[in-house]
Amino acid sequence: MQLIECPWCGPREEVEFHYGGQAHVAYPADPQALPDEQWAQYLFFRDNPKGAFAERWSHAAGCRRWFNAVRDTATYRFHATYRPDQPRPEIS
């Protein structure tokens, strides 16, 4: 069982966390103005890289706050976790 570093609580067991999909997907500024295709892009299309991926996580059984993480989808390693108001850190 992995340890995940909650930005507020510190390292906790992975069963306390909930996955929230890709991070940094901004809500469209004016959804009404979007053509259907672009709205569908926002709703349904996400990246699926092998390697570093910025994701949203929720410390569901802990402080219940959301945060972002850069995780390697091939090794499951967490390279960084950071608050939602922080930019994605550069991962070499």
Partner: protein
């Protein structure tokens, strides 16, 4: 009469005699014995028969690597398929051999099992020489240390040897080290505890056996086994090594044993594994067994060394004892019926083998480091051709290997390697270990002659057993390779080698070696199969721990549960909650009771225990804005004291749930319990996504008791002194009911016909299946309480809730 017990020595209590039965025959033994050593003391090698071929099988090693000595325990605690070598002898033990597989006891397991967490800087697995030095080094540096070892006492390989440390008996040093460890408050030292699984980030599971060694005197309050969930900053694997056999014809007979195991039976248990021995080796280690056994009175008729040149030192030792050393020869086969009676020794170029009579054939094909816990953590292995063994092939953060598990096979080297491993771990952990005292020293071993890697001796493949428990032979591997298998994982699955009780502790690497030979590739290139948890079998009961029966999933009851029980409620399970379904009067069935309750609410007023439903309390200046974004309908216009029903949607437009929202005295919303967790996360997401200008918090308040009050006379006209709608005082209900919210009688979930009427009678109408915008309706419930009256009409998602909750639950409307 225990004719194979030596007069003195061993770590057994000869003053006390235990009686036990095996296969219906009575025997005796001593505290400190295992079932295997006690049987061997009576000359009993054979324990059962093999699973497929029915060939006699027996004790082949001294601990968990034994592939042969499986038994069924009948008394005092019935359990199938244990190794006689790992069962500690207790008075009154009753066991029997098995035909390759056991059977579960037909009485319930009455024992208690539990789990415990431990956190440490350093976890040391194995209390042999390397592990003890490592634990001591770390403890002296002030680290929090957990030391686990699977044997009944610490010492590891030292228990089965006559080694010396710091110019004294090695076991004196072990006792001193153990005593010193006990003085550190931050050291947890567990014996009889097997680390069986190594997972991510220093997480290790270990099984502690806590009562079986007390036999029938086991304290009843004590859990029989405990799963330790250990989280360590660094895991140091000092698990030792397993001796491996060499495969030859008829190599499965009782009386054929690993060489070091016979030495362990002698030194630890004071037992001679036979009278007339032949030793077959490819390595130096087996000579120590030959010499020690000869000194203890065993007639060693030959040491057969597959190498061209026998080691000088050991050749001299053997000569002094009159043991013939046959260099460059091999054991090609055996004779015997229930027990080996002769070894067939052949020269390097084959020819007619020579028959040497014996009742004990000791085998050593070198050593396999116990790298299981390293490999489980995804550590790569590499084959050291000089050692003839797979050893850790990389360094992992947070994990290291020391001692013979790392391929260090001499005692002095193990002591030094334990200190090295601990210092490396402490440096990684940032713990200052300067000033650490140097490790103790052992007499250095005589110069080691390189081992010869010999997987098998040529012969009839059909009687050359690779996995003795699975009855799998070299012929099976040849068939697998002939069928096109090229990887060890495929060969394993095709032949079943390494899938038995012992998980291939002796057979796995040999199978890889023979496969590599058949394929004509180096074994290092082919590799081994992946080591997977558990290292040794773990009972499901231990993994389940206390989570059995009523504790498997907690039962939740509301604050007024007793009230429901007193009125004869029939409960249904809703998640973990016990929710009252209806309250039958004598003679009533469900339908009759529900009809009566419906009528009572319709004409009067009812009260619903809504405590089982999830509640989310949304607070903060922008709470109304947040709710507007979550609900499809407007919630920010909700007046204090009022309730409004609504639909919650995600950005995709799918309805995720329906829930009433109420305003007083704080903004709150009540959601269906099974949706609460997800919706709560979405609310949190709404906060975090910064789509709300000012913060709003949304704590779960699932434990708050809530009563919904529907019914034709639920409200009374006017307002109270706080300006809130006046509520009917509900006589007969407990104080817990007060403060409940009134349900919104008809919903505003998007259905145009369902206009809100604050005091209209509760709808119990719907047309099941025709209108289901929320996807959450239950036609079963809705139809059960359907009434012919139809207006005003909520959609099914709302009708689903109301009829069951309101009409189904109120036996005493005022």
């Amino acid at each position: 009469m225990t004719e194979f017990r030596v007069p003195s020595g061993g770590r057994i209590d000869r003053a006390t005699t235990y009686r036990f039965t095996f296969g219906g025959t009575s025997y005796t033994g001593h505290p400190g014995d295992t079932l295997a050593s006690a049987l061997l003391a009576h000359g009993v090698h054979a324990t059962g028969t093999s699973i497929a071929l029915g060939r006699p099988r027996g004790i082949g090693a001294a601990w968990a690597e034994d592939p042969g000595g499986l038994v069924q325990i009948e008394e005092p605690f019935p359990e199938p398929m244990l190794l006689a070598t790992t069962v500690e002898l207790v008075d009154g033990l009753s066991a029997r051999g098995i035909p390759g597989q056991g059977r579960l006891a037909d009485v319930p397991d009455s024992a208690r099992y539990d789990a415990k967490h431990a956190h440490a800087d350093l976890l040391v697995v194995g209390a042999g020489p390397a592990g003890l030095v490592a634990a001591l080094t770390a403890a002296r540096a002030g680290a929090r240390v957990v030391l686990v070892d699977e044997q009944s006492e610490p010492g590891g390989a030292l228990l089965g040897s006559a080694d010396r440390v710091d110019r004294g008996p090695a076991l004196d040093w072990v006792a001193a080290a153990t005593a010193e460890l006990a003085t550190f408050p931050d050291v947890l030292h567990l014996q009889r505890t097997t680390a069986f699984g190594h997972y991510d980030d220093g997480f290790v599971l270990a099984l502690e056996r806590r009562t079986d060694h007390f036999g029938s005197a086991a304290p009843r309050h004590r859990s029989r086994q405990r799963v330790w969930r250990i989280r360590a900053g660094h895991v140091l694997v000092a698990a030792g090594a397993h001796e491996r056999p060499v495969v030859f014809c008829d190599n499965d007979r009782p009386g054929i044993m690993l060489a070091a195991s016979a030495r362990t039976f002698l030194h630890r248990y004071g037992v001679l594994a036979g009278r007339d021995a032949v030793v077959f080796t490819t390595d130096d280690g087996a000579y120590a067994a030959a010499v020690d056994l000869a000194d203890a009175g065993v007639r060693v008729h030959a040491v057969v060394d597959a190498r061209e040149v026998a080691p000088l030192h050991w050749r001299a030792e053997c000569e002094r004892r009159g043991i013939p050393v046959r260099a460059g020869q091999v054991v090609a086969g055996t004779e015997g019926t229930d027990r080996v009676s002769a070894a067939l020794v052949a020269g390097p170029d084959g020819g007619e083998p020579e028959r040497i009579a014996c009742d004990l054939l000791l085998v050593s094909g070198g050593w396999n480091p116990a790298v299981h816990l390293f490999s489980q953590a995804r550590g790569r292995l590499h084959h050291d051709d000089g050692l003839g063994a797979f050893v850790p092939g990389e360094t992992l953060p947070g994990t290291s290997v020391a001692g013979s598990a790392a391929g260090v096979f001499d005692l002095d080297g193990c002591l030094r390697d334990g200190a090295r491993g601990a210092l490396g771990a402490l440096a990684e952990l940032g713990i200052d270990a300067r000033g650490a005292t140097p490790p103790p020293v052992a007499d250095s071993d005589p110069e080691r002659t390189p081992p010869r890697v010999l997987w098998r001796v040529p012969g009839d493949e059909r009687t050359q057993f690779v996995d003795i428990q699975r009855d799998a032979t070299v012929a099976d591997i040849a068939r697998a390779v002939g069928a096109g298998m090229r990887g060890v994982e495929h060969v394993k699955r095709y032949t079943t080698i390494g899938t038995a009780h012992d998980q291939g502790k002796t057979s796995g690497v040999i199978a890889a070696g023979i496969t590599a030979e058949l394929l004509g590739v180096p074994v290092g290139q082919l590799g081994t199969t992946t080591f997977r948890p558990p290292y040794t079998p773990v009972a499901f009961a231990a993994l389940a721990g206390r989570n059995r029966g009523a504790l498997f999933d907690p039962e939740r009851v509301t604050a007024v549960h007793d009230w429901h029980v007193a009125r004869g409620a029939v409960f249904e399970d809703v998640g973990q909650w016990k929710r009252p379904r209806y309250y039958p009067l004598p003679g009533e069935d469900m339908d009759a009771a529900v009809l009566r309750e419906c009528a009572a609410v319709r004409g009067g007023v009812g009260i619903l225990d809504g405590s089982t439903l999830g509640k989310i309390d949304v607070q903060g200046p922008d709470a109304p804005v947040l709710l507007d974004r979550l609900y499809t309908n407007m919630m920010s216009t909700l007046k204090v004291g009022m309730v409004r029903y609504g639909v919650l949607c995600g950005a995709t437009g799918w309805c995720s749930t329906t829930a009433p929202c109420c305003a007083p005295p704080r903004t709150g919303t009540s959601l269906h319990h099974h949706r609460r967790r997800r919706e709560g996360a979405r609310l949190d997401g709404g906060v975090a996504a910064d789509r709300v200008a000012r913060p709003a918090g949304a704590p779960h308040v699932g434990h708050r008791a809530v009563g919904h009050v529907p019914g034709g006379r639920a409200a009374v006209p006017g307002r109270d002194r706080r300006g809130l709608p006046r509520r009917r005082r509900l006589e007969g209900a407990s104080a817990s009911w007060r403060g409940g919210t009134r349900t919104c009688p008809a919903s505003r979930c998007g259905s145009p016909a369902s206009a809100s009427r604050a005091s209209s009678p509760t709808r119990s109408t719907s047309t099941p299946g025709t209108r289901r915008p929320c996807g959450t309706g239950s036609s079963r419930r809705a139809s059960r309480t359907a009434s012919p009256r139809t207006a005003p009409r909520p959609c099914t998602c709302c009708a689903r809730r109301r009829p069951t909750r309101s009409s189904g639950r109120t036996p005493t409307a005022p």
